[in-house]
Amino acid sequence: MTGFFANAGIYLPILLKGVWLTIAVTFLALTLATLLGLVWALFRTSGIAWLAMATRVFVEFVRGIPILVVLFYIYFVMPEVGLDLTAFQAGVAGLALTYSCYIGETFRAGIEAVDRGQVEAAKSIGMKQPLMMRRVVLPQAFKIVVPPYSNNMVMLLKDSSQVSVISVAELTMQGKMLASSTFDNMTVFTLVALLYLCLTLPLNFVMRRVEIAMGKAQ
């Protein structure tokens, strides 16, 4: 056990470099995925048949492909058609694309869970679709989606470890490299796991507070 703490002091600074990259990838991918997800959800609930259908096909398509394959595709295949991204950019893009579909479905479910009477009341005072979405439906939908959205956030954070396969040196990648050079698998991967918990547990806590706050704010 003393060995663990002694070595941990040496390993931590190296692993922390990975932590920052994990945070950066997660934050950027989450922001993009949330914006895109909102767009998908608005398309799917727009009432415009072809737009809803096209979005649905796209979302089903992306959701049906493993993240790893999406990452490989963006990083290795796209350069052949002229889209040359760095490993970091490709990682963010892959995660954002995949998660925009999960988050989009979450938002859509939230929008559809808003009572139909609300939509009718909004229409009955002459609101058009965009105004109705902004003033009536989305504020209520956001409240409904906080718990599943929090879940998406935590999953995205954990799935950011997948970008290590295209050589982004985030936390998991740093751990793997450190372990293979020290053979101290036990200490390294325990630290990696603890560092992930240091990110996910506070995130859970914060989102739980948000949920409670929104519940109170009627």
Binding site: Q118, A121, A122, I125, P139, A217, Q218
Partner: protein, 243 residues
């Protein structure tokens, strides 16, 4: 002002309205009565473009009501609706609920909208509930806010879809009282209701809808006291003497 000509409406195979003709004139209070499933609410919702109809024509001031047409939004600002289940916006206060339409649809300035919303809520007896959220209001209070919300659009007519059916019995009176006051000010109203007494006292005219058709219509007092059609007689007997 509201005119229905041979209106047909079906849900899939089920034909709900089988050719309805009716006219509601300016300043008139018309009650629409009939057994449940007769198509009363559907008819009302068609007038406001919340449901599409397949055949015939509904018009407001000569303008055809068509769910797909861009004019529908404008028609809805002129013909407001009050719902059975109130449908207030739960994330906004009573005042904000009433201000919403004037402020964001009619684009009135905030100050003016607030002032008028306050007046309207005072008029329906809720001056002390401006800042309350719907969840802290009783059913009767919520429905009065909903009426104020409809009035805030300064509509030419208001459609009421069973406005007292979801209320506890002791709250029915306060809502009907507000509606009676509106009728006395000659607001054009089309009311789907089971409150026969209200219809008798307040309505100018009553339409009896059964099986998707208007079976009988006439001045309220006459139709409700001396119904001519057998089905009207039968319905009124069951409503007024349930036991």
């Amino acid at each position: 002002m509201i005119k229905l000509e041979d209106v047909h409406k079906s849900f899939a195979q089920h034909e709900v309205l089988k050719g309805v003709d009716a006219e509601i004139n300016k300043g008139e209070v018309v009650c629409l009565i009939g057994p449940s499933g007769s198509g009363k609410s559907t008819l009302l919702r068609c007038i406001n473009g919340l449901e599409a109809y397949q055949r015939g024509r509904i018009s407001v001031d000569g303008e055809t009501v068509d769910v797909g047409a861009p004019t529908i939004h404008d028609i809805r600002t002129r013909v407001s609706m009050v719902f059975q289940r109130f449908n207030l916006f739960p994330h906004r206060t009573a005042l904000e609920n009433v201000m919403e339409g004037p402020r964001y649809v009619l684009k009135e300035d905030a100050q003016a909208a607030r002032q008028r919303a306050t007046q309207l809520l005072t008029r329906v007896g809720l001056a002390d509930k401006l800042q309350s959220y719907p969840s802290s209001l009783s059913g009767g209070q919520q429905q009065r806010v909903a009426i104020a919300r409809a009035l805030a659009m300064q509509p030419e007519a208001i459609l009421f879809d069973e406005p007292t059916s979801a209320l506890d019995p002791e709250m029915v009176g306060e809502v009907l009282q507000v509606m009676r006051a509106l009728a006395e000010e000659h607001m054009t109203m089309l009311v789907v209701t089971h409150e026969i007494l209200f219809a008798r006292e307040v309505a100018d005219r009553v339409l009896f809808l059964d099986g998707g058709r208007i079976v009988e219509e006439g001045p309220a007092g006459e139709l409700l006291r001396h119904p001519k059609h057998e089905r009207t007689q039968d319905f009124l007997r069951r409503v007024t003497h349930p036991v």
